[in-house]
């Protein structure tokens, strides 16, 4: 489903990694661990079609065109990347989804309780309240957005980095339930977040193989 063959990536003339190879089968859950700055997030962005490799080949679900790859994956980054819009718009990104699906993802991302306390609910405008929003709330909106897209391939880049221990456990459990029949690549520096994964790889083991 995901194939990276001898991929190299440089940014600003600085080589991030060289000859990285990775194969992930359909419905497989793969965790990749490594120190901060070793290129884990870059790898995920390459798989998502957000970056172009300097060398090598990337094929995701039969697609090699980065724009087409982007359409086939769902991503939760470290930063929630919210836009000055309503909670609903940040989750759906302007697409029409059934109300039940939106309710379900809000529930699974542990958002429903908080949304229930807002006077305008899911239609609350986030533009001027970025300071009022906690890191956890913002990240859970990003998780709900990823769930709402319902792509077959889920890419997770430290999705719980802004959450406390209790919320981390709840969100990881929700992600686990949600990704039962999905292909997952999860990069983190905390291997304990990868419980139940099919394979846990070290970043350095992928390079030069």
């Amino acid at each position: 489903m995901i194939r990276l063959e001898k991929v190299s990536f440089s940014y600003d003339k600085q080589e991030i990694f060289r000859d990285l190879s990775l194969h992930v089968e359909k419905n497989e859950k793969v965790g990749i661990v490594g120190e901060s700055g070793c290129g884990k997030s870059t790898l995920l962005k390459l798989i998502a079609g957000l970056y172009l490799p300097s060398e090598g080949k990337i094929c995701v679900d039969g697609e090699t065109d980065p724009a087409r790859i982007s359409r086939k994956v769902s991503v939760v980054m470290q930063a929630p990347m919210l836009l000055p819009m309503t909670i609903m718009e940040n989750i759906t990104m302007g697409h029409e989804y059934p109300a039940e699906r939106i309710d379900r993802v809000c529930e699974e991302a542990q958002l429903s309780k908080w949304i229930g306390t807002l006077s305008e609910g899911i239609n609350t405008y986030l533009g001027d309240r970025s300071d009022e929003l906690s890191g956890g709330q913002a990240q859970r909106i990003a998780i709900a957005r990823a769930m709402c897209k319902d792509a077959q391939i889920i890419l997770l880049d430290e999705p719980t980095s802004a959450l406390d221990a209790e919320n981390t456990a709840a969100v990881l459990e929700a992600l686990r339930r949600y990704t039962v029949d999905k292909t997952v690549v999860h990069v983190t520096h905390r291997p304990e977040h990868l419980k139940g994964y099919d394979r846990i790889l070290k970043m350095e083991d992928l390079i030069g193989k």
């Binding site: 962005k45 998502a48 079609g49 957000l50 982007s70 359409r71 994956v73 769902s74 991503v75 980054m77 930063a79 990347m81 919210l82 836009l83 000055p84 819009m85 718009e89 990104m93 302007g94 697409h95 533009g127 001027d128 970025s130 300071d131 906690s134 890191g135 990003a142 957005r145 897209k149």
Partner: protein
Amino acid sequence: MPVLKILLKRNRIWVFAAILAALVSNLSQMFYFVFVGKLVDKIAGRQTIEYSFIAILAVFMIANVVTVSLNHYIGHMTAEKMAHSLRMGYARKLLKKTNGENRSCDAGQIMSVVQNELAQADAYLGNTFFDIFSMTFSGILVLVFLLFQNALLTMTLLIPAILILVYVLILSKRMTPLVSETQNAKNRMNHAVYSTVHAFPAIRIFDGEKLAMHTFQRETTDWVRSATKLERRSALYNSLSGVLSGIPLLLLLLAGGYMVLDGHIMLGTLIVFLNLQKSLMGFIMNLPAWIGGFKIFTANLTRIEIE
């Protein structure tokens, strides 16, 4: 403590010097004009002009030039000192914030404050703030002096000016919500631009280009609408104020000319009135603009936190 109070307190020696310089400069200017008026009277009355009179006039002339220059220098130096305190205070607050007080340092909002509120407050301090001190002293001193010279002629000048002032003030009251609305719209637009750049990966992955464009367009349109409305209203008030400000001078010329011809006042007194009316009218007619500018300045300061 309000930001303006902090700035004034931190630069109190310079502020005191600027106020003193404004007072001395305006007093010397007024005495100079009085002596010019007396000179005109002496010439018109074919009287002998003593050497001592010419010497005093020369002293006032030199004092006037020196004090005006000093006032200008100290005023602008004080403004720059205060602007520096404002910039550095904001930077200190920002550095403190990034040390963990705030969860996230929103670069969009910081850039927006630097490019808008901070830049505008800085420009106001440098271009207007201490000129207001000077013109206020000048206006009050001249008013008291002219009332002692000729109360009737002063009233001829003052009453229409006050009526016009009240009229312009009422109109300018409508400006405050517009200014605030435009500032908010600009902040929202800057935030939208920053967020769009920052959230580009999410926009791409979740196919949100249309929504991002829609958001950006909405915020831009809002800002354009507010800014256009503010500029239109501002242009209308300023041109009205400009046209109306000519009326008191016309009345002074008519009434003053009649009084000179009728022998009620000397020609020198009218010359003094004509010279000094600029200071008085400048103070009265610019008052709404100063108040408007000061409101924008204080509104900008409320959005800036300093340490």
